[in-house]
Protein backbone atom coordinates (compact mmCIF):
# COMPACT_ATOMS: atom_id res chain seq x y z
CA UNK A 1 0.00 0.00 0.00
CA UNK A 2 1.51 3.26 -1.10
CA UNK A 3 -1.02 5.81 0.25
CA UNK A 4 -0.34 8.13 -2.65
CA UNK A 5 -3.85 9.46 -2.14
CA UNK A 6 -2.73 10.92 1.14
CA UNK A 7 0.93 11.61 0.51
CA UNK A 8 0.49 13.67 -2.66
CA UNK A 9 -2.05 16.05 -1.10
CA UNK A 10 0.25 16.17 1.91
CA UNK A 11 3.18 17.27 -0.23
CA UNK A 12 1.02 19.86 -1.98
CA UNK A 13 -0.17 21.17 1.37
CA UNK A 14 3.40 21.35 2.65
CA UNK A 15 4.70 23.19 -0.39
CA UNK A 16 1.65 25.45 -0.40
CA UNK A 17 2.02 26.43 3.23
CA UNK A 18 5.77 26.85 3.22
CA UNK A 19 5.85 28.94 0.06
CA UNK A 20 3.39 31.42 1.58
CA UNK A 21 5.97 34.25 1.54
CA UNK A 22 6.36 33.81 -2.19
CA UNK A 23 2.82 33.46 -3.41
CA UNK A 24 1.26 35.90 -0.97
CA UNK A 25 3.32 38.66 -2.57
CA UNK A 26 2.50 37.70 -6.11
CA UNK A 27 1.85 40.65 -8.31
CA UNK A 28 2.44 43.06 -5.49
CA UNK A 29 5.38 45.32 -5.83
CA UNK A 30 6.73 46.23 -2.45
CA UNK A 31 8.26 49.68 -2.69
CA UNK A 32 10.77 50.53 -0.04
CA UNK A 33 9.58 53.27 2.29
CA UNK A 34 10.66 56.83 1.57
CA UNK A 35 10.40 58.81 4.78
CA UNK A 36 10.21 62.51 4.06
CA UNK A 37 13.31 64.18 5.42
CA UNK A 38 13.08 67.64 7.05
CA UNK A 39 13.73 70.58 4.79
CA UNK A 40 14.84 72.81 7.64
CA UNK A 41 17.56 70.78 9.32
CA UNK A 42 20.35 68.60 7.94
CA UNK A 43 21.37 66.78 11.11
CA UNK A 44 19.41 65.07 13.85
CA UNK A 45 20.42 64.77 17.49
CA UNK A 46 22.63 61.81 16.60
CA UNK A 47 23.96 60.54 13.29
CA UNK A 48 21.64 58.84 10.81
CA UNK A 49 22.96 55.34 11.25
CA UNK A 50 22.42 55.53 14.98
CA UNK A 51 18.98 57.06 14.59
CA UNK A 52 17.93 54.35 12.17
CA UNK A 53 18.56 51.51 14.56
CA UNK A 54 18.49 53.07 18.02
CA UNK A 55 15.92 55.86 17.97
CA UNK A 56 13.47 53.79 19.94
CA UNK A 57 16.01 53.28 22.68
CA UNK A 58 16.77 57.00 22.79
CA UNK A 59 13.10 57.95 22.89
CA UNK A 60 12.48 55.43 25.61
CA UNK A 61 15.35 56.91 27.56
CA UNK A 62 13.90 60.41 27.05
CA UNK A 63 10.49 59.20 28.17
CA UNK A 64 11.97 57.91 31.42
CA UNK A 65 13.90 61.14 32.02
CA UNK A 66 10.92 63.37 31.42
CA UNK A 67 8.18 61.37 33.07
CA UNK A 68 10.08 59.96 36.02
CA UNK A 69 12.69 62.66 36.68
CA UNK A 70 10.90 65.69 35.27
CA UNK A 71 14.04 66.45 33.36
CA UNK A 72 13.32 67.99 29.97
CA UNK A 73 16.79 68.80 28.75
CA UNK A 74 19.11 66.36 27.08
CA UNK A 75 22.74 67.03 26.38
CA UNK A 76 23.69 65.66 23.00
CA UNK A 77 27.11 64.22 22.14
CA UNK A 78 27.69 67.31 20.04
CA UNK A 79 27.52 69.40 23.23
CA UNK A 80 24.22 70.96 22.33
CA UNK A 81 21.18 70.87 24.55
CA UNK A 82 17.95 69.47 23.14
CA UNK A 83 14.45 69.52 24.47
CA UNK A 84 13.26 66.02 25.17
CA UNK A 85 9.84 66.11 23.60
CA UNK A 86 8.08 64.57 20.69
CA UNK A 87 5.82 67.41 19.74
CA UNK A 88 8.22 70.17 20.67
CA UNK A 89 11.40 68.31 19.82
CA UNK A 90 11.31 65.66 17.13
CA UNK A 91 8.30 66.96 15.34
CA UNK A 92 9.70 70.41 15.00
CA UNK A 93 11.75 69.04 12.16
CA UNK A 94 9.93 65.81 11.30
CA UNK A 95 6.64 67.58 10.97
CA UNK A 96 4.51 64.76 9.67
CA UNK A 97 3.97 61.48 11.45
CA UNK A 98 2.37 60.03 8.36
CA UNK A 99 5.15 61.04 6.03
CA UNK A 100 8.01 60.22 8.34
CA UNK A 101 7.33 57.86 11.25
CA UNK A 102 4.65 55.74 9.68
CA UNK A 103 6.60 55.15 6.50
CA UNK A 104 9.08 52.77 8.04
CA UNK A 105 6.94 51.62 10.93
CA UNK A 106 4.21 50.39 8.64
CA UNK A 107 6.69 48.75 6.32
CA UNK A 108 8.44 46.90 9.10
CA UNK A 109 5.20 46.16 10.87
CA UNK A 110 6.04 48.05 14.03
CA UNK A 111 3.44 49.85 16.12
CA UNK A 112 5.23 51.89 18.76
CA UNK A 113 3.19 52.91 21.75
CA UNK A 114 4.22 56.60 21.58
CA UNK A 115 0.72 57.49 20.53
CA UNK A 116 -0.97 55.70 23.34
CA UNK A 117 -0.20 58.80 25.47
CA UNK A 118 0.77 61.44 22.98
CA UNK A 119 -1.93 62.94 20.84
CA UNK A 120 -1.53 62.01 17.26
CA UNK A 121 -1.11 65.10 15.17
CA UNK A 122 -4.17 65.79 13.06
CA UNK A 123 -2.84 65.86 9.59
CA UNK A 124 -4.70 66.88 6.55
CA UNK A 125 -3.69 64.23 4.16
Amino acid sequence: MYDSGKIIPGIILFVGLFTFPFWSNMGKAAPAPKPELPKTAKVCVMDTAFMKTEHMVLLNHWRDKVVREANRVWLGPDGKEYKMSIQNGCMQCHTSKAKFCDQCHNYAGVSPYCWQCHLEPKENL
Partner: protein, 334 residues
Protein backbone atom coordinates in the same frame (compact mmCIF):
# COMPACT_ATOMS: atom_id res chain seq x y z
CA UNK B 1 33.70 8.71 17.72
CA UNK B 2 33.54 9.87 21.32
CA UNK B 3 31.40 12.69 22.61
CA UNK B 4 34.05 15.39 22.92
CA UNK B 5 35.27 14.82 19.39
CA UNK B 6 31.70 14.94 18.09
CA UNK B 7 31.09 18.19 19.93
CA UNK B 8 34.33 19.77 18.76
CA UNK B 9 33.69 18.70 15.19
CA UNK B 10 30.23 20.26 15.25
CA UNK B 11 31.46 23.42 16.95
CA UNK B 12 34.21 23.86 14.40
CA UNK B 13 31.73 23.28 11.59
CA UNK B 14 29.41 25.98 12.91
CA UNK B 15 32.42 28.25 13.54
CA UNK B 16 33.49 27.94 9.92
CA UNK B 17 29.94 28.61 8.80
CA UNK B 18 29.95 31.81 10.85
CA UNK B 19 33.23 32.93 9.34
CA UNK B 20 32.25 32.39 5.71
CA UNK B 21 29.73 35.24 5.44
CA UNK B 22 31.86 37.40 7.69
CA UNK B 23 34.75 37.16 5.29
CA UNK B 24 32.53 37.10 2.23
CA UNK B 25 30.59 40.24 3.09
CA UNK B 26 33.77 42.08 3.99
CA UNK B 27 34.99 41.14 0.53
CA UNK B 28 31.84 42.63 -0.96
CA UNK B 29 30.02 39.41 -1.72
CA UNK B 30 26.68 40.68 -0.44
CA UNK B 31 24.70 39.40 -3.42
CA UNK B 32 26.19 35.97 -3.03
CA UNK B 33 25.30 35.72 0.64
CA UNK B 34 22.15 37.83 0.46
CA UNK B 35 20.57 36.41 -2.66
CA UNK B 36 22.21 33.40 -4.26
CA UNK B 37 22.76 31.36 -1.11
CA UNK B 38 19.24 31.94 0.29
CA UNK B 39 17.64 31.00 -3.03
CA UNK B 40 19.80 27.91 -3.33
CA UNK B 41 19.02 26.92 0.23
CA UNK B 42 15.27 27.33 -0.17
CA UNK B 43 15.34 25.41 -3.44
CA UNK B 44 17.33 22.62 -1.80
CA UNK B 45 14.91 22.60 1.09
CA UNK B 46 11.82 22.13 -1.05
CA UNK B 47 13.35 19.77 -3.56
CA UNK B 48 15.06 17.86 -0.79
CA UNK B 49 12.03 17.44 1.44
CA UNK B 50 9.73 16.51 -1.42
CA UNK B 51 12.30 14.11 -2.83
CA UNK B 52 12.75 12.56 0.59
CA UNK B 53 9.03 12.06 1.10
CA UNK B 54 8.67 10.66 -2.40
CA UNK B 55 11.58 8.34 -1.71
CA UNK B 56 9.79 7.03 1.36
CA UNK B 57 6.49 6.84 -0.45
CA UNK B 58 7.97 4.69 -3.18
CA UNK B 59 8.39 1.92 -0.67
CA UNK B 60 5.01 0.44 0.16
CA UNK B 61 3.62 -0.41 3.56
CA UNK B 62 3.23 -4.13 3.01
CA UNK B 63 1.67 -4.91 6.35
CA UNK B 64 -0.61 -3.00 8.66
CA UNK B 65 1.43 -2.87 11.83
CA UNK B 66 0.20 -0.12 14.16
CA UNK B 67 1.64 -0.15 17.65
CA UNK B 68 -1.50 -0.63 19.69
CA UNK B 69 -1.39 1.37 22.91
CA UNK B 70 -4.96 0.86 24.04
CA UNK B 71 -7.87 -1.54 24.02
CA UNK B 72 -8.77 -2.94 20.61
CA UNK B 73 -12.24 -2.76 19.15
CA UNK B 74 -13.66 -6.24 19.61
CA UNK B 75 -16.84 -7.04 21.45
CA UNK B 76 -19.46 -4.32 21.49
CA UNK B 77 -19.64 -4.16 25.28
CA UNK B 78 -15.92 -3.60 25.70
CA UNK B 79 -14.96 0.06 25.53
CA UNK B 80 -12.29 0.41 22.88
CA UNK B 81 -9.67 3.13 22.96
CA UNK B 82 -9.96 4.83 19.63
CA UNK B 83 -7.17 7.30 20.34
CA UNK B 84 -4.47 4.85 21.33
CA UNK B 85 -5.72 1.99 19.19
CA UNK B 86 -7.71 3.54 16.37
CA UNK B 87 -10.27 1.45 14.57
CA UNK B 88 -11.31 4.07 12.04
CA UNK B 89 -9.95 7.06 10.14
CA UNK B 90 -11.22 9.50 12.72
CA UNK B 91 -9.24 7.71 15.39
CA UNK B 92 -6.12 7.69 13.25
CA UNK B 93 -6.43 11.39 12.53
CA UNK B 94 -6.86 12.19 16.20
CA UNK B 95 -3.96 9.94 17.14
CA UNK B 96 -1.76 11.66 14.59
CA UNK B 97 -2.84 15.10 15.78
CA UNK B 98 -1.93 14.18 19.34
CA UNK B 99 1.37 12.79 18.16
CA UNK B 100 2.35 15.64 15.87
CA UNK B 101 1.04 18.59 17.86
CA UNK B 102 1.35 17.38 21.44
CA UNK B 103 4.08 14.74 21.26
CA UNK B 104 1.80 12.17 22.85
CA UNK B 105 4.30 9.33 22.88
CA UNK B 106 7.01 11.42 24.45
CA UNK B 107 4.54 12.35 27.17
CA UNK B 108 4.47 8.69 28.19
CA UNK B 109 8.14 8.83 29.02
CA UNK B 110 9.22 7.38 32.34
CA UNK B 111 12.66 7.02 33.79
CA UNK B 112 13.94 3.68 34.96
CA UNK B 113 15.51 3.77 38.40
CA UNK B 114 17.60 0.80 39.37
CA UNK B 115 18.22 0.11 43.04
CA UNK B 116 19.99 -2.66 44.85
CA UNK B 117 17.99 -5.73 45.53
CA UNK B 118 17.37 -5.38 42.65
CA UNK B 119 14.39 -3.11 42.77
CA UNK B 120 13.38 -1.23 39.69
CA UNK B 121 11.08 1.77 39.67
CA UNK B 122 9.68 3.81 36.82
CA UNK B 123 9.50 7.44 37.75
CA UNK B 124 7.66 10.14 35.91
CA UNK B 125 9.95 11.90 33.46
CA UNK B 126 8.21 14.64 31.55
CA UNK B 127 11.21 16.93 31.17
CA UNK B 128 12.11 15.70 27.72
CA UNK B 129 8.53 16.20 26.65
CA UNK B 130 8.45 19.71 28.10
CA UNK B 131 11.80 20.60 26.58
CA UNK B 132 10.72 19.31 23.20
CA UNK B 133 7.44 21.23 23.35
CA UNK B 134 9.21 24.44 24.37
CA UNK B 135 11.84 24.04 21.68
CA UNK B 136 9.50 23.18 18.82
CA UNK B 137 6.76 25.67 19.62
CA UNK B 138 9.07 28.58 20.29
CA UNK B 139 10.85 27.79 17.04
CA UNK B 140 7.49 27.80 15.27
CA UNK B 141 6.54 31.13 16.79
CA UNK B 142 9.90 32.64 15.88
CA UNK B 143 9.48 31.37 12.34
CA UNK B 144 5.96 32.75 12.01
CA UNK B 145 6.99 36.10 13.47
CA UNK B 146 9.52 36.37 10.68
CA UNK B 147 6.64 36.55 8.23
CA UNK B 148 6.67 40.27 8.91
CA UNK B 149 9.78 40.38 6.75
CA UNK B 150 8.05 38.65 3.89
CA UNK B 151 4.85 40.57 3.28
CA UNK B 152 3.45 44.07 3.07
CA UNK B 153 1.00 44.75 4.46
CA UNK B 154 1.66 42.31 7.21
CA UNK B 155 -0.97 39.74 8.07
CA UNK B 156 -2.85 40.76 11.26
CA UNK B 157 -2.32 37.24 12.59
CA UNK B 158 1.40 37.92 12.69
CA UNK B 159 0.76 41.01 14.79
CA UNK B 160 -1.51 39.02 17.04
CA UNK B 161 1.28 36.48 17.52
CA UNK B 162 3.74 39.28 18.25
CA UNK B 163 1.35 40.65 20.81
CA UNK B 164 1.13 37.32 22.60
CA UNK B 165 4.83 36.68 22.30
CA UNK B 166 5.65 40.09 23.73
CA UNK B 167 2.88 40.23 26.29
CA UNK B 168 5.31 41.06 29.09
CA UNK B 169 5.78 44.48 27.47
CA UNK B 170 9.27 44.89 28.80
CA UNK B 171 12.15 46.51 27.02
CA UNK B 172 12.53 48.45 23.85
CA UNK B 173 12.30 46.86 21.37
CA UNK B 174 9.75 44.77 23.18
CA UNK B 175 11.05 41.45 24.46
CA UNK B 176 9.77 38.35 22.69
CA UNK B 177 9.61 35.31 24.92
CA UNK B 178 9.90 32.89 22.03
CA UNK B 179 13.48 33.90 21.31
CA UNK B 180 14.58 33.24 24.86
CA UNK B 181 12.56 30.03 25.10
CA UNK B 182 14.10 28.80 21.89
CA UNK B 183 17.57 29.37 23.27
CA UNK B 184 16.57 27.75 26.54
CA UNK B 185 15.08 24.80 24.69
CA UNK B 186 18.19 24.26 22.62
CA UNK B 187 20.38 24.62 25.68
CA UNK B 188 18.27 22.04 27.51
CA UNK B 189 18.44 19.59 24.63
CA UNK B 190 22.20 20.05 24.50
CA UNK B 191 22.73 19.77 28.23
CA UNK B 192 20.75 16.58 28.56
CA UNK B 193 22.74 15.15 25.69
CA UNK B 194 26.02 15.73 27.48
CA UNK B 195 24.93 15.06 31.06
CA UNK B 196 23.00 11.82 30.62
CA UNK B 197 25.73 9.22 30.09
CA UNK B 198 23.69 6.94 27.86
CA UNK B 199 22.55 9.80 25.70
CA UNK B 200 26.06 11.13 25.41
CA UNK B 201 27.13 7.68 24.32
CA UNK B 202 24.68 7.50 21.42
CA UNK B 203 25.07 11.07 20.21
CA UNK B 204 26.62 11.73 16.84
CA UNK B 205 28.08 14.89 15.36
CA UNK B 206 24.81 15.14 13.45
CA UNK B 207 23.02 15.46 16.81
CA UNK B 208 25.19 18.30 18.07
CA UNK B 209 25.55 20.17 14.80
CA UNK B 210 21.89 21.17 14.37
CA UNK B 211 21.71 22.19 18.03
CA UNK B 212 24.74 24.46 17.69
CA UNK B 213 23.47 25.75 14.39
CA UNK B 214 20.04 26.62 15.76
CA UNK B 215 21.58 28.09 18.90
CA UNK B 216 23.76 30.37 16.80
CA UNK B 217 20.85 31.34 14.58
CA UNK B 218 18.71 32.22 17.58
CA UNK B 219 21.56 34.09 19.28
CA UNK B 220 22.36 36.20 16.25
CA UNK B 221 18.66 36.95 15.94
CA UNK B 222 18.40 38.01 19.55
CA UNK B 223 21.59 40.08 19.28
CA UNK B 224 20.27 41.86 16.18
CA UNK B 225 17.02 42.69 17.85
CA UNK B 226 18.20 43.83 21.24
CA UNK B 227 21.88 44.68 21.19
CA UNK B 228 23.70 45.12 17.90
CA UNK B 229 20.68 46.36 16.06
CA UNK B 230 20.52 46.29 12.30
CA UNK B 231 18.56 48.57 10.02
CA UNK B 232 15.30 46.66 9.91
CA UNK B 233 14.00 48.56 6.92
CA UNK B 234 17.00 47.66 4.80
CA UNK B 235 16.75 44.08 5.98
CA UNK B 236 13.14 43.98 4.94
CA UNK B 237 14.00 45.45 1.57
CA UNK B 238 16.34 42.53 1.10
CA UNK B 239 13.88 39.89 2.29
CA UNK B 240 11.01 41.38 0.31
CA UNK B 241 13.27 41.38 -2.71
CA UNK B 242 13.77 37.67 -2.18
CA UNK B 243 10.07 37.00 -1.68
CA UNK B 244 8.99 38.97 -4.76
CA UNK B 245 11.83 37.69 -6.92
CA UNK B 246 13.24 41.18 -7.32
CA UNK B 247 16.34 40.66 -5.23
CA UNK B 248 18.19 43.68 -3.91
CA UNK B 249 21.03 44.01 -1.45
CA UNK B 250 20.73 47.39 0.23
CA UNK B 251 23.82 49.05 1.61
CA UNK B 252 24.61 49.21 5.24
CA UNK B 253 23.15 46.02 6.68
CA UNK B 254 25.51 44.72 9.34
CA UNK B 255 27.43 41.50 8.83
CA UNK B 256 25.60 40.05 11.84
CA UNK B 257 22.57 39.88 9.61
CA UNK B 258 24.48 38.08 6.91
CA UNK B 259 25.71 35.55 9.42
CA UNK B 260 22.13 35.01 10.57
CA UNK B 261 20.84 34.67 7.03
CA UNK B 262 23.63 32.35 6.01
CA UNK B 263 23.12 30.03 8.96
CA UNK B 264 19.39 29.95 8.32
CA UNK B 265 20.18 29.05 4.72
CA UNK B 266 22.46 26.28 5.91
CA UNK B 267 19.71 25.00 8.19
CA UNK B 268 17.22 24.94 5.32
CA UNK B 269 19.64 23.23 2.98
CA UNK B 270 20.76 20.75 5.64
CA UNK B 271 17.20 19.93 6.70
CA UNK B 272 16.18 17.32 4.11
CA UNK B 273 19.46 15.45 4.34
CA UNK B 274 19.54 15.08 8.08
CA UNK B 275 17.57 13.74 10.98
CA UNK B 276 15.55 16.96 10.88
CA UNK B 277 13.33 15.31 8.25
CA UNK B 278 11.54 13.72 11.18
CA UNK B 279 9.19 16.67 10.68
CA UNK B 280 7.93 15.04 7.51
CA UNK B 281 8.65 11.48 8.55
CA UNK B 282 6.40 11.45 11.57
CA UNK B 283 3.40 11.66 9.27
CA UNK B 284 4.46 8.53 7.43
CA UNK B 285 5.18 6.30 10.40
CA UNK B 286 3.22 3.07 9.87
CA UNK B 287 3.13 2.23 13.55
CA UNK B 288 1.11 5.40 14.18
CA UNK B 289 -0.81 6.29 11.04
CA UNK B 290 -2.69 3.06 10.49
CA UNK B 291 -5.89 1.84 12.05
CA UNK B 292 -5.83 -1.46 13.87
CA UNK B 293 -8.49 -2.92 11.61
CA UNK B 294 -6.39 -5.86 10.52
CA UNK B 295 -8.98 -8.54 11.09
CA UNK B 296 -11.84 -6.39 9.76
CA UNK B 297 -10.42 -5.09 6.50
CA UNK B 298 -7.83 -6.94 4.49
CA UNK B 299 -4.64 -4.98 3.94
CA UNK B 300 -3.05 -5.48 0.52
CA UNK B 301 0.64 -6.08 0.08
CA UNK B 302 1.56 -5.01 -3.46
CA UNK B 303 4.55 -7.34 -3.64
CA UNK B 304 2.91 -10.34 -2.05
CA UNK B 305 4.33 -13.32 -3.92
CA UNK B 306 3.64 -17.04 -3.85
CA UNK B 307 5.92 -19.02 -1.59
CA UNK B 308 6.86 -22.65 -1.39
CA UNK B 309 4.75 -24.40 1.17
CA UNK B 310 4.61 -27.92 2.46
CA UNK B 311 1.13 -28.94 1.33
CA UNK B 312 -1.27 -31.18 3.15
CA UNK B 313 -0.90 -33.73 0.36
CA UNK B 314 2.86 -33.89 0.86
CA UNK B 315 2.30 -34.15 4.57
CA UNK B 316 -0.20 -36.95 4.24
CA UNK B 317 2.05 -38.78 1.79
CA UNK B 318 4.76 -38.81 4.41
CA UNK B 319 2.60 -39.85 7.35
CA UNK B 320 -0.28 -41.74 5.73
CA UNK B 321 0.40 -45.12 7.25
CA UNK B 322 0.88 -43.75 10.72
CA UNK B 323 -2.26 -41.66 10.35
CA UNK B 324 -4.35 -44.59 9.24
CA UNK B 325 -2.97 -46.68 12.06
CA UNK B 326 -3.84 -43.99 14.57
CA UNK B 327 -7.36 -43.72 13.17
CA UNK B 328 -6.86 -40.26 11.74
CA UNK B 329 -8.92 -39.49 8.64
CA UNK B 330 -6.93 -39.36 5.41
CA UNK B 331 -7.67 -38.12 1.89
CA UNK B 332 -6.16 -41.09 0.08
CA UNK B 333 -6.33 -44.54 1.58
CA UNK B 334 -3.31 -45.83 -0.32
Amino acid sequence: MNASRSIIFSLVAVGILVCLPLIGVAAGMTSFFGVIIPYLAVALFFIGVVARVVRWARSPVPFRIPTTCGQQKSLPWIQSDNLENPSDTKGVVLRMILEVLLFRSLFRNARMEFYEGPKIRYASAKWLWLGAIVFHYSFLVVLLRHLRFFSTPINPLVHLLEGVDGFLEVGVPRLYLSGLLLLAGVAFLFLRRVTIPQLKYISLPSDYFPLFLIFTIASTGVLMRYIYKVDVVSVKELTMGLATFHPVTPEGIGSLFYIHLFLVSVLFAYFPFSKLVHMAGVFLSPTRNLANTNRMVRHINPWNYPVKVHTYEEYEDEFREKMIEAGLPVEKKE
